[in-house]
């Protein structure tokens, strides 16, 4: 792991600018948050392919669906909560219409910090998972974000890309580690697996150092849907305890997706789902909130120790 750190929304902005230069039918729409989502970089390079839709997310989503139906590849950008908050529009205009729209939700989770609950995407994975055909990506660092954007542009079908406001450390040296639908195995271990997605991958990795007596597996699930069933089955066979860690409500997120895979098979592993426990977020510093809601490295260690005692 190198020391650099960058918010995945920034990596996204740079990646979109790059991919936008290569793929001429990419168009980008934003709802008065281009400075925050970083779609502003694309807007500056390709003003004729950027559409400022104002604070009107439903209309932005519907317009994107129409652009997709006329052959473009639209990326619609806003905070995760606001864009996925227009669920029924996504469900019909994007989902049911099978439109090739890429939904980008930044400022995901508690990690947004001081702005508080109304600005936090905390149920967005849940709702997007429920849309048939939706691919859900949540990269954990800079290069995998670049890879995810490249994949989203090439993939035919709707994608939800979930990104952080806060900086996250660089975990990987090459874009190649990202293969859609395949989780990244950061550490092979024994009887315990720590499974993260997005910003919590680093927390899980850091926790694994303190938990070295258990020699835990550490997994990065950047593709939440379709999820890497094979790897989760393997972990379910080899480990007695799986721990998912997510900056999202535990209802309908990563933990639920892993539970679904396990319950389809014969695993007898115990699954512990760390994350926001059927609750709302609140204002505070991102690190304080990660502690309070039990998803910081320190709190992962404490909770795992308690469970395994």
């Amino acid at each position: 792991m190198s020391n650099g750190s960058k918010a995945t929304r920034e990596s996204f902005g740079e990646a979109l600018q790059k991919v936008g230069a290569e793929v001429p039918n990419i168009v980008v729409l934003d709802a008065d948050l281009s400075v925050s989502t970083k779609s502003v970089l694309f807007a500056k390079s390709f003003p004729e392919r950027f559409f400022q839709m104002g604070i009107a997310e439903s209309n932005m989503i519907g317009t994107a669906a129409g652009l997709a139906l006329s052959g473009f590849i639209p990326f619609v950008c806003s905070f995760g909560c606001f864009v996925t908050g227009r669920y029924e529009t996504i469900r019909v205009s994007i989902g049911y219409n099978r439109t090739n729209v890429k939904i980008v939700g930044t400022h995901a989770g508690l990690g947004i910090g001081e702005d508080g609950y109304t600005q936090m995407g905390l149920e967005d994975i849940n709702t997007m998972r429920a849309v048939p055909g939706m691919t859900i990506l949540q990269p954990a660092d800079d290069l995998t974000t670049h890879a995810a954007v490249r994949f989203a542009a090439a993939h035919v079908g709707p994608v939800y890309l979930r990104l952080t406001r806060q900086k996250v450390p660089t975990l990987y040296r090459s874009e190649q580690v990202f293969q859609s639908g395949r989780a990244i195995l950061l550490k092979e271990g024994d009887d315990l697996a720590l499974i993260g997605t997005g910003a919590t991958v680093y927390e899980a990795l850091k926790a694994s150092e303190d938990l070295s007596e258990y020699n835990p597996w550490v997994i990065d699930i950047h593709t939440i849907k379709p999820i890497d069933r094979a790897l989760i089955r393997t972990l379910g066979d080899k480990c007695r305890t799986l721990v998912t860690v997510e900056d999202h409500n535990v209802i309908g997120g990563l933990g639920t997706a892993v539970a679904e895979v396990l319950s389809d098979g014969h695993s007898r592993a115990r699954l512990v789902r760390l994350g926001v426990q059927d609750n709302f977020g609140e204002s505070g510093k991102a690190e304080e909130l990660y502690d309070k809601y039990g998803i910081s490295a320190k709190k992962i260690v404490e909770q795992v120790r308690k469970i395994l005692k």
Binding site: D32, L33, Q52, G54, D115, G116, Q119, E282, S283, G284
Partner: protein, 276 residues
């Protein structure tokens, strides 16, 4: 109170609230000064002249209600709640901190004097309409006041309420439009022009007036007029200046959602104090 005395009192309070806004956002290290400063005169007129409420009892049944639909301007609301004795001055220092009642956007569960939790633009006005409808059904006299942004008018939901409130004859719903022509990515005019905004509301059959949103006699006169409406809701379109009262923040989009640093805070506070 003779009009001039009253207006002097409100002006002084507004300056004090502006000081609170700068101090609280500066201490928190984040927040929306431009948006709060543009709305504060309207809130001062409401909380120190127009509205009936009991600072000791947030649940008093006969109170008027206020909903801040553009929830990001909540520092303005916290400052009038402090100055009117609803919450203690010392609490302002906790804005946006973990476990604070003063959340980054209004939270009615955390803080009782907040009538509705807002922060996702477009929703507060519908909630205000529902409250006004509820009061009417109960044959109550209380009013519901609501403040929306001009950028917020780009949300479709605003126009759904625009359409429905006149149908129910909600003369007890009085809305201020904080028409400061700023949003995040630029001016409202360049992002998604909403003009002619007064004609749009009028076409939806609202009583519509346009005023200077920093001029207390105009604000009070518009409110008085609104009280006389018999069967329609009122929208008061208030021309405002984003960042009003702090020279370097005025009309600068940058100050939409950026906290001042130490030096900027000092400069802003001394400018405001000179006016007291």
């Amino acid at each position: 109170m003779p009009e001039t005395k009253l207006i002097e009192k409100l002006q002084r309070l507004a300056t004090e609230c502006r000081l609170d806004i700068i101090e609280m956002i500066s201490k928190a290290g984040s927040g929306h000064p431009g948006s709060s400063l543009s709305a504060i005169d309207i809130l001062v007129a409401l909380y120190f002249h127009e509205m009936h409420f009991d600072p000791k009892n947030p649940y008093w049944e006969d109170r008027d209600r206020f909903i801040l639909s553009k929830g990001h301007a909540v520092p303005a609301l916290y400052s009038v709640l402090v100055r009117s004795g609803c919450i203690g001055q010392e609490e302002l220092g906790t804005l946006r901190q973990i476990n604070s009642r003063l959340q980054g956007h209004p939270d009615r569960i955390a803080l009782p004097f907040i009538e509705a939790s807002t922060g996702s633009l477009g929703q507060g006005l519908s909630i205000a309409q529902g409250m006004a409808l509820g009061l009417k059904l109960q044959k109550k006299e209380q009013k519901v006041f609501c403040l929306i942004g001009d950028g917020e008018c780009q949300e479709g939901q605003i126009w759904e309420t625009a359409m429905s409130a006149p149908k129910y004859g909600l003369n007890n719903l009085i809305v201020f439009l904080d028409n400061n022509n700023g949003q995040i990515d630029g001016t409202v005019k360049e992002i998604m022009d909403i003009s002619p905004i007064d004609e749009k509301w009028r076409a939806f059959r609202w009583a519509t007036t346009s005023i200077d949103g920093h001029n207390f006699s105009e604000i009070l006169a518009a409110l008085e007029q609104a009280r006389k409406e018999e069967d329609r809701p009122t929208i008061i379109i208030a021309r405002t200046i984003k960042g009003k009262g702090v020279s370097f923040m005025e009309n600068q989009i940058k100050w939409h959602g950026t906290a001042p640093n130490e030096e900027e805070t000092k400069k802003a506070l001394s400018e405001l104090r000179a006016r007291l």
